[in-house]
Symmetry: C2
């Protein structure tokens, strides 16, 4: 009896027929099944593999019609000669050229220092259990059913006729129309079809714009902190990049903008602070562009996740002088795989950009353009935006709660400005770079904000935590591990129970002190909180500027520690603290006898 | 009774449910159906549209779950408030910015003369009935069933998890493996996975390479004639481009290559002559690269359509010094829509190219990478290559026959060198540019070869005709129309019957002369042909250097003309000529009394 020539692999994603096909093709092309070799009969192979004979017959028939196999009447199925003749050799995993010591190529590569030196070797976030980084979307967000439907429609015969043959330098007219009527109107932008160019996403848009608008003679203003991708592209062109302050209304518009050729801004969701530029500031910027004669590059980064408010209209929609070049990408939930974005600008500029795009890559894939067009046309895009808004709101709240409840060291987070991230401020002399590296070793990715600053000294001692790539259920465990790590790192640097100033209270004395005491403090995100410890062992909590969040709980003293348990707050879990009273200040210490929080205390008699 | 709010469109490609969905979404987003508007009941709408009620119910339900509509119990279905709140305005087809007269942007665009001036405004070939241009593939060649299958597999849940989240700057490992084992082995190339970078096709590969390897200090050698896309990219970088002769063995390797930094070649199928570089020449080029210290950029353009011979191994496969940078794209039949190609070079070079690619566009779409990977993995690619070879062979033969049989003016076509085109040589003073423009007006696209020459004077008076985008059945009608146009254009410029030297024979005299005469001439593609006119009214034809093609036919004289009809040749159709005998030369004139051919004649008595 003949040996089995192929095996069925239970983990393989292909169905049986395709798997048989794939394995036979592999064998033929790698030479294991040489031309002229006789294959086992379909009956025999189906017995060996324990699959239906029809499955084997169908796989054989396909391969015969494709020319891999030939069927000779009554004598069987053979590997064909013809297919192999078109091939020159076999595969091996290393080339002689690559092994050559000569580095002939290396001397020819042009030196582009800002290209070679700025890469930070970003870790692949998908391999980490807790990627608290912004702008990457986990797979649960991908609208798989809707994308499949749009994709299936784009493979209709008439549609394939439209896109399979290439287009010179044109985009899919159906997609342009959908962008015009379904996306740009969300941003208040009116645009004709000759004002839109499809790109391979935001990076590609920025590349094209920086090639067209910047060179050594260019003074380019950017937000500080700001998008380092754009800063690097401008440096690549040799431009003089000016760092301009961002405040709580967005880019500061003042005399520093004078003399600029271009000003790059991210008004709807500032990178990286998430500040939305105020309407007044937008008007001032448009006016300054006219007065000082510069162009504005408006990067409408993640406008879809800026869910906190009703969005303000885009700068492009306020532009009557053709000075704004607007770029956006399809939602990150849709685009990372498919990579699609677009530029909106005056027709003449779009014409130039199209010519350059043709040199770079001809045009973005038309099959993906058509799929995106159907996705928009069926209304899936707006539905996706609503869903993302909901999901991110929930996740960001979960992050806030976890950071608030898991305090390990004194932390502070940015007030609510929208977006999907929090900036976490650490004590002044804390080494954020070290924390980032240590966290990565523990499977946690956080983002130091330093890279967003052109001038390193401007950077606050902060890191950024985002939730776009982290499903709800992983946020609390991730924060718990991060806080544990933080505690270990600051051990010895923060106040210890044994050496604390004030009185360490235990037992009855602690019980007497807390009964009737009121605690006043602030949450990590700045909201005031009042806690009353009633003598009967219950607690009343009021949180927020208008006491909008209330909870009740129980407190008790057992041995040396104060135990607290809220009905809802702190996940309804009991926490224990050592307590020190220092004047009108109460200090909380954790089980490791490190300080985790302090507050103002008003005793019952006061 | 309420008016119908939407209409069903019989031509729409969507199914009824999706069409209803699409039209409702359009109405909601463009404001025709304002928030709070009550929609007709599903019963009413289904009656109005004459579709099943379930179809309307399903469309409504989907839109409710997406948030476009809200259902209020017992009172009906309403347009939701929420969806519109996220939007700023409505659509219009022109922007105020675009209408602004200010050309603020124009003064900021950097002058890149070689980019702006070299565009010829290529017509979109798909709109022309007879696009005889090379390298565009008509939709009948697209492997729609196989692509759909591969596409469907790429949308499996595990696969979507792999590609939907983006990849930083990595390519799909599955595709890299398939390229390595299924494509590169066809070309004799061994490569590790770190020697391969996926690109957006050949244009994108050339762009990346020209950015990395060329600047003002670069002496770059190119074939003359050669690929104008690469020449333009080198000019864009300010390189000194040297035009080097191509002979029937490919690029001439001589002392002109000395001092070059890079040499760009298309060895498997020279652009545009289709010459395959001989093995000796390949070895000489590799040796020269080592001796003169230059790099070779090997563009394996359309190696798959070079079907005439067994292919020679790629230069990269002969390279032991790491001096060859190899680029190829997936077949044009697969890639124009999806746009995928790749670069093979030493790992260090690939690393640099990957960094630059990240700046330009991050990475090529991963969904298309995965689809292509499945396409290769199932063996569809090799099967497609075989099918294309077959189809192009047939089409090119049809083009040759049509050009041979439809002679309108003396023409000559290039000998067989492989590829999918013929070069058509016209009389010396014929205006090919004018012909190209006139042909376009008649729906026929031909390609003047001038643009391939760096030095215009090197260009022969030729145009190129290709068949990759023209199905078999359209080739003869296209050539017929082109020849008709040619005849009109040369009217008055070629020999006329009335003014011809020699004797115009008619009637009995013509009958007597032709009986027993033997005609010796050459086909347009250079093969000798002998025709014997036997006295009994039959003809014997022998064609080719070894008389490999024979046919029989009948001839007769009627009135002033000689009538000929072959059994197979000239499509088995009868043709009529006026005949002039001038010494030992026979001249054929068409119905317009213009000369179309001449030959050597040996009379019966000789």
């Amino acid at each position: 009896m003949q040996d089995t020539i192929i095996y069925i692999d239970a983990d393989n994603r292909l169905n049986l027929q395709n798997q048989i096909r794939q394995k036979l093709v592999d064998g033929i092309l790698n030479g294991s099944f040489p031309p002229g070799m006789r294959l086992p009969s379909s009956r025999k192979l189906s017995q060996q593999l324990n699959v239906a004979r029809n499955t084997v017959v169908a796989a054989y028939q396909q391969l015969v019609s494709d020319g891999y196999l030939v069927s000779r009447n009554r004598s069987g199925i053979f590997v064909s000669q013809e297919m192999l003749e078109a091939r020159v050799g076999h595969s091996s995993d290393s080339s002689p050229a690559a092994q050559a010591e000569s580095k002939a190529w290396a001397r020819r590569v042009k030196a582009i220092p800002s290209l070679w030196h700025e890469e930070h070797g970003q870790p692949n976030w998908r391999h980490y259990p807790f990627p608290f980084i912004d702008g990457r979307f986990d797979a649960t967000l991908f609208p798989i059913t809707e994308w499949r439907e749009a994709n299936r429609l784009s493979l209709g015969v008439a549609d394939v006729g439209d896109w399979s043959t290439g287009s010179g330098d044109a985009d899919d007219p159906m997609l342009i129309e959908e962008i015009r009527t379904k996306i740009l109107t969300r941003r208040g932008i009116q645009a004709g079809s000759d004002e839109i160019l499809v790109t391979m996403g935001t990076q590609n848009s920025l590349y094209i714009i920086s090639q067209l608008l910047a060179d050594e003679s260019t003074r380019a203003v950017m937000e500080e902190p700001g998008n380092y991708e754009m800063r690097n592209l401008l440096h690549l062109r040799g431009a003089n990049v000016v760092a301009q302050e961002v405040d709580d209304q967005g880019l500061v518009v003042d005399e520093n903008l004078q003399g600029a050729s271009i000003v790059y801004v991210t008004p709807s969701h500032q990178i990286p602070t998430a500040v939305a530029m105020s309407l007044e500031r937008r008007q001032a910027l448009i006016q300054a562009a006219a007065d000082d004669d510069f162009l504005i590059v408006e990067d409408d980064y993640e406008c879809e996740t800026n869910y906190m408010d009703h969005p303000l209209p885009a700068l492009r929609s306020m532009d009557v002088a053709g000075r704004v070049i607007y770029i956006a990408s399809f939602s990150n939930a849709l685009a990372p795989g498919a990579r699609l974005g677009f530029i909106v600008a005056n027709p003449g500029f779009i014409r130039r950009a199209r010519q350059l795009r043709r040199k770079i890559l001809n045009h973005p894939p038309l099959n993906n353009q058509r799929t995106a067009a159907y996705f928009l046309s069926l209304g899936h895009y707006d539905a996706l935006m609503m869903r993302l808004g909901r999901v991110f709101r929930e996740r960001r709240m979960a992050l806030r709660d976890a950071l608030n409840n898991m305090r390990g060291i004194p932390l502070e987070i940015s007030p609510e400005v929208g977006g999907t991230t929090y900036w976490v401020r650490t004590p002044r002399d804390f080494d954020v770079g070290n924390l980032t590296r240590e966290a990565e070793k523990h499977g946690i990715l956080i983002e130091p904000v330093e890279q967003y600053y052109a001038v390193a000294e401007n950077a606050e001692n902060c890191f950024r935590m985002g939730v776009t790539s982290l499903p709800h259920g992983k946020i609390r465990p991730g924060v718990e591990q991060l806080i544990k790590l933080l505690r270990d790192l600051v051990r010895g640097q923060v106040e210890q129970l044994e050496t604390s100033s004030g009185s360490w209270l235990i037992g009855d004395e602690l019980q007497r002190t807390m009964a009737g005491a009121t605690i006043l403090y602030r949450e990590v995100y700045g909201a005031p909180c009042t806690i009353e410890h009633l003598p009967d062992g219950t607690m009343q909590g009021r949180l927020g500027f208008a006491n909008e969040d209330r909870d009740t709980g129980r407190w008790r003293v057992e041995g040396e520690q104060l135990f607290r348990k809220w009905d809802r707050w702190v996940y309804g879990e009991e926490t224990a603290y050592y307590i020190v009273i220092d004047g009108d200040k109460i200090k909380y210490f954790n089980a490791d006898k490190q300080i985790v929080d302090s507050a103002f205390i008003r005793l019952a008699g006061d």
